[in-house]
């Protein structure tokens, strides 16, 4: 199991260190520092933006009397079903400096060009990526806000802190574990992001590796860049672990009561507008635009016929490819996660903990790096797999396995070991106990892990693009290719369907949380 994760990773480093010194030198001189600066700047800006947006949205919907907060809770989480590159396609079409829908509209209105903010470059990428990653922070901090003891804040007020001081000195520190976890998710997501930064022409490690791999086909350079990127990702992971380790809060379960919502008073309407603005930009506008384009596509017979060509070029084929490869990845990942979780939860020792932690590393490895390592490995060791869809599935499993391991571990942790012991004293062997007691009880948790793997695999772009055999198109791939060629109307139905299919497992996952019931 651990080997499965380790081999590609080690291979990358071998290739990176084995690259000719000349390649290293060239890269060091020209590229690496620029890329490092670009990447770190974007990670910093988006993580900051997502933390700020996520926490303020969570505070408004959980702790105030904001109107419509029940609906907003759903709508603020739903952007997770929208791949950032689809959001970028929509916002780009709307705001492009030349030819964008809004600038054109304004020009026809005023009779002269009007300067509008451009989504291209650093600020555009920060804006778009913040819009589609803040829900991670929103969900984690929302849950933390809900579980916070009312008496904690009351005590702070009694000891003379103002509400603002209480927020800064008591509430936010208590949320720290959730915020750190959310920040890590966002940061790793940005490191791995390819589609959005490529569209908005902002170069990061991931997009540079992608170009090296697909265009120039320079594997040595790609390996060197990947090595640096992985070190960066592991540094984030390690940093979060370090910080998280010091921040373990225990909260008494008994006598828990939620804090009363804070009245917003005259700020109710502005607050509502702000939340509505965030929901519009991240969900309503992309959805409406895609819907509008889709209708136009269906009205136009020419687009309709290209869209629904039969055979391997047909729409149904893209849908099927996307669905089966993601489902297969989900099933395999959950299946593999089970022994790892059983080992680390039921037989905790250094070895099993290590295995479990190691399986989490896949999380930190961006899709392009997974793709690169698989290209290299499959060519050398498993040539019969080369150019088959199975390589794509393997990439999904490697990359999204940690979500399955975490879900299985948390499901097992909630299961009292005395249930299994009771089964043993009542005459069942350990295998019978696993099948008759453990599995039925942790099934919901396993399904949740599977749903998460399915959701993220469906959205995965760079690994699919790099590894797919010719003719193997998924929804995500088609959206990307058509959008790259500027066929927005043709893109829209596929993008819309992708968002809707991703929304299904997401709403299943959200329904498991108390706050969405």
């Amino acid at each position: 199991m651990a080997l499965f994760v380790a081999v590609p990773l080690v291979y990358i480093f071998v290739r990176a260190l084995g690259a000719e010194p000349e390649a290293w030198q060239r890269l060091l001189q020209e590229r690496i520092w620029k890329l490092l600066g670009n990447t770190l700047l974007l990670v910093l800006a988006v993580t900051g933006g997502a933390l700020f947006t996520g926490v303020s949205m969570a505070w408004l919907t959980e702790r105030t009397d904001l109107p419509g907060k029940r609906i907003f809770r759903w709508m603020l989480a739903m952007p997770l079903a929208v791949p950032a590159y689809i959001g970028a396609i929509v916002h780009l079409a709307l705001l492009r400096p030349r030819g964008g829908i809004i600038p054109q509209f304004l020009e026809s209105l005023f009779g002269q060009p009007v300067v509008t903010p451009s989504p291209i470059g650093f600020w555009g990428a920060t804006f778009i990526l913040t819009l589609f990653t803040f829900p991670y922070v929103y969900l984690l901090s929302g849950a933390a806000f809900r579980s916070l003891h009312a008496s904690l804040e009351e005590a702070s007020r009694i000891f003379g802190r103002t509400p603002l001081q209480t927020l800064v000195h008591v509430t936010l520190p208590a949320l720290r574990p959730g915020l750190l976890a959310g920040a890590l998710l966002v940061a790793l997501d940005i490191l791995a992001e390819y589609g959005t930064v490529a569209l908005l022409r902002y170069e990061t490690f991931s997009s540079a590796i992608f170009v090296q791999l697909s265009g120039r086909y320079d594997r040595s350079a790609a390996s060197v860049l990947s090595g640096v990127l992985v070190v960066l990702a592991i540094a984030f992971l390690w940093g979060e672990l370090r910080l998280q380790g010091q921040a373990r809060f225990t909260q008494m379960e008994s006598n828990w009561r939620p804090a009363p919502p804070m009245p917003l008073g005259k700020w109710r309407i502005p607050a509502f507008l702000i939340v509505f603005g965030v929901v519009s930009a991240s969900l309503l506008v992309p959805f409406t635009v895609l819907l509008f384009w889709s209708i136009q596509a269906f009205v136009d017979p020419e687009t309709l016929s290209t869209l629904f060509r039969t055979g391997s070029q047909g729409f149904g084929n893209y849908v099927w490819n996307g669905l089966w490869s993601s489902s297969a990845a989900a099933v395999i990942a959950v299946g593999l996660s089970l022994p790892v979780a059983l080992l680390s939860v039921r037989y905790p020792n250094r070895f099993s903990k290590f295995i479990s932690r190691f399986c989490q590393v896949g999380y930190a490895i961006p899709g392009v790096v997974i793709a690169l390592s698989l290209v290299l490995l499959v060519n050398r060791a498993l040539p019969f797999l080369y150019a088959t869809p199975f390589v794509v599935v393997i990439a999904y499993v490697l990359r999204h396995m940690p979500q399955a391991v975490r879900a299985s571990e948390s499901a097992l942790n909630q299961l009292s070991p005395s249930l299994e012991e009771a089964s043993r004293t009542l005459g069942r062997t350990s295998l019978q106990t696993l099948i008759q007691v453990t599995l039925p009880l942790i099934l919901p948790g396993l399904l949740a892990g599977g749903a998460l793997v399915f959701l993220t695999s469906l959205k995965e772009l760079p690994a699919t693009l790099l590894l797919r055999p010719a003719g193997f198109d998924t929804l995500a791939v088609r959206v990307w290719v058509w959008a790259g060629e500027g066929f927005y109307h043709q893109t829209a139905p596929a993008a819309l369907l992708l968002v809707l299919v991703a929304a299904l497992p997401l709403s299943f996952l959200l329904r498991r949380e108390q706050i969405f019931k």
Binding site: S416, E421, A422, T425, L426, G427, V437
Partner: protein, 346 residues
């Protein structure tokens, strides 16, 4: 006949340098209830889990019905030991109904037999009408009884109970434990019962084994344990004893509150400690008495007084609830016990 024999068992956990169970031996006869009692961390639950086969022992031997089930070379897995167990958190399977929970241990029996055994068991614990319910629909006391029925259904040679009442409310506990003891006695079950509550141990056990720091301090009937404690720990743990210092003299023991008329088999002038419970002491108001009332606690049917002797030694005394004296009053305390007191050489 001996149903269970535990011989010199030892169990170490990796996380601790002390043995969780250190050289414990006892025997249990058929139809007997043995209560293992001691403070938390004394090794009582580990002993139970070793008997069940949920832990492996490091040394020693366990024999069930004359058959070795655990030793350094033998380990019979729990599913083949034929013991029943009631868990502290009941461990009812949440995905199964009451009926299916009780039937769980009857794997491989004929359908007809299963139906009749489960029916009998649910009838025994008075839960026949609840058989279609799920565990989350039951009250704490009902769950407790389902757990008992489930453990008893396969007719185990030995029933193990791990703090089975600790998850119940205090007022419910007294009622349930009486009910459970009656059930166990009516079917003549052989039981090892673990608790940290002395009252519960005295109530449930035909015999008690008092454990401390992984070692067996004393084993015996409730009366022996209570009145003839072998060690100072047992006297202290089993019923809040005070320890009065004294010295062996001709004809008894000289203490601060007078000569205790009890001969002991110790040389003259040996320093000793006498275990005194609150019902062993009485006092009268006396301006030149040997002690001072420093506290009074109303306990309904009686008053518990705390007395301080001039040396600083504290003694407790139960008196009639009508005998009310102010804190600060000087009194003359004396020993009124009619049984012989436990004396430890200091």
């Amino acid at each position: 006949m001996t149903a269970l024999e535990v011989r010199n068992i030892v169990k170490h956990f990796h996380s601790s340098s002390h043995a969780a169970v250190n050289d414990i031996s006892f025997e249990l006869y058929e139809d007997e209830i043995l209560a293992l009692v001691g403070p938390s961390g004394c090794g009582k639950t580990t002993t139970l889990r070793l008997i069940a086969g949920l832990e492996r022992l490091d040394a020693g031997m366990i024999r069930l019905n004359e058959q070795v089930v655990a030793s350094e070379s033998v380990f019979i897995p729990p599913e083949r030991r034929g013991v029943g167990m009631v868990f502290q958190d009941h461990a009812l399977f949440p995905h199964l109904t009451v009926y299916d929970n009780v039937a769980f241990g009857l794997l491989g029996k004929k359908a007809e037999e299963i139906r009749s055994v489960v029916g009998d068991m649910l009838h025994l614990v008075g839960l026949l009408p609840m058989s279609k319910r799920y565990p989350h629909e039951l009250s704490g006391g009902e769950r407790q009884r389902v757990a008992l029925a489930r453990a008893l259904a396969p007719r185990p040679v030995l029933l193990l109970m791990d703090e089975p009442f600790s998850s119940l409310d205090a007022d419910l506990r007294t009622e349930v434990r009486e009910h459970v003891r009656n059930i166990l006695k009516s079917i003549r079950a052989t039981v090892v019962f673990v608790t940290h509550d002395q009252d519960e141990a005295l109530f449930m056990g035909d015999r008690l084994a008092v454990l401390n720091k992984g070692e067996l301090e004393q084993i015996g009937t409730p009366e022996e344990i209570f009145h003839e404690s072998n060690t100072r720990f047992v006297a202290e743990f089993m019923g809040g004893s005070d320890f009065l210092k004294g010295r062996v003299v001709q004809g008894g023991i000289q203490t601060e509150i007078g000569l205790l008329n009890q001969t002991v088999d110790l040389p003259l002038s040996t320093p000793v400690e006498i275990a005194l419970r609150a019902d062993d002491i009485d006092f009268e108001i006396d301006g030149s008495g040997n002690s001072l009332i420093v506290g009074r606690f109303f306990r309904g049917a009686f008053n518990l007084y705390r007395l301080r002797l001039s040396s600083g030694q504290i003694l407790h005394s139960f008196t009639d609830h009508t005998k009310i004296l102010p804190v600060g009053a000087r009194v003359q305390a004396r020993v009124i016990a009619e049984h012989s007191l436990t004396v430890f050489s200091g």
